[in-house]
């Protein structure tokens, strides 16, 4: 994101070396030819122009170097943080796969919690008060609902999406489509059929958790300030949703049965 007024330094660093050196050279040349007694002033002006050009060029190189160094450092820190946050998620999922089938459901909840915590923590570096939520389908309820299994960050435990309500039907249709939902500003654009309260958030990203077996739920990330998220955040939510699909797949045997 660019800061307001961020164009000033690029304009100065591009124009001063050109204008300063040209004007300085002209003034010095004029001073050499001058016979009116202002030679000293012309020389002083010329030297000042050249000095400004050289100074801004050197300063520009220093700024460029520092910016490059800080970007490189930030990138390294980001990668290390990504490892630190996603590692427990992956390790818990791997451990879940080693367990007997009857205890995997408890692991699923722990895995979902590590996923929500990791997502919120990575995003919290550049987004104020984010909230990450993992939902799963509850087939025991009639009508069926999609319940929060884990959440991390701002606010209370999110409400379930219940089939038969406008909000619930919109969410269930959304995960059936297996597409990414990204709404940068909910005041300007909302999903079709959206009946959310928007309590405490003005932007959200939502990605279904699915495999070729079907859709298991979804991962959402929201924040109070519109425009908080970018494409990188969408990619991160997609990655977490994809990793959650591993846990959902290994949490069951192949012999699925229709809910009664």
């Amino acid at each position: 994101m660019s800061k307001r007024g961020g164009w000033i330094w690029p304009v100065i660093s591009a124009s001063v070396p050109v204008v300063g050196s040209f004007a300085g050279a002209q003034l010095i040349a004029w001073g050499i030819r001058d016979t009116t007694g202002i030679q000293a002033w012309l020389f002083a002006g010329g030297v000042t122009g050249v000095a400004a050009a050289v100074g801004v060029t050197v300063a520009g190189k220093i700024v460029e170097h520092r910016r490059g160094t800080s970007i490189d450092r930030a990138r390294r820190n980001q990668l290390v943080k990504l490892r630190d946050e996603l590692m427990p998620f992956a390790s818990t999922t791997a451990d879940m796969a080693r367990q007997p089938h009857d205890v995997r459901q408890a692991y699923l909840k722990t895995t979902a919690q590590t996923a929500a915590t990791a997502l919120r923590s990575v995003v919290a570096d550049h987004v104020a008060r984010p909230r990450a939520v993992i939902y799963l389908l509850n087939a025991d309820n009639e009508p069926v609902s999609m319940d929060s299994i884990a959440h991390s960050g701002r606010g209370e435990r999110p409400r379930p999406f219940v089939q038969g309500t406008t909000r619930g039907d919109a969410a269930l249709s959304f995960i059936e489509k297996k597409a990414v939902g990204f709404y940068p500003d909910l005041q300007k654009k909302r999903p079709a059929g959206y009946d959310g309260t928007m309590s405490g958030y003005n932007t959200y990203i939502s990605v279904p958790v699915w495999t070729e077996s079907g859709s298991y739920g979804m991962v959402t990330l929201d924040a109070p300030k519109a425009g908080s998220f970018d494409d990188g955040d969408v990619a991160l939510v997609e990655l977490v949703a994809e990793m959650m699909s591993i846990a959902f797949e290994i949490g069951q045997d192949d012999d699925v049965r229709v809910a009664e």
Binding site: H101, R104, Q105, L108, L136, L137, N138, A139, D140, E142, P143, V144, Q163, G164, D169, L172, S173, I175, E176, K178, W210, T211, E212, S213, G214, S215, Y216, G217, E242, F248, G251, Q252, D253, D255, V256, R257, V258, A259, E260
Partner: protein, 66 residues
Amino acid sequence: MKNVSDDVVARAYTSAMTKQGWRVVKTSGGYGVLKSTAGTKATKSTVVRPTAVTGKKGQGATKIDR
């Protein structure tokens, strides 16, 4: 234990779900999975399947049996 009215309600929801083009199936893990009944099948473009699995699984098994 369900009574008759529960079954009627359950059938009504199942019917509504089918009309919407999907139904929710309970997995052996205890949670649900939403399956599309509209006939469309989405595939994951990110999946890279090993050739050993996609091509010659049956053949290998037959050789072991012999």
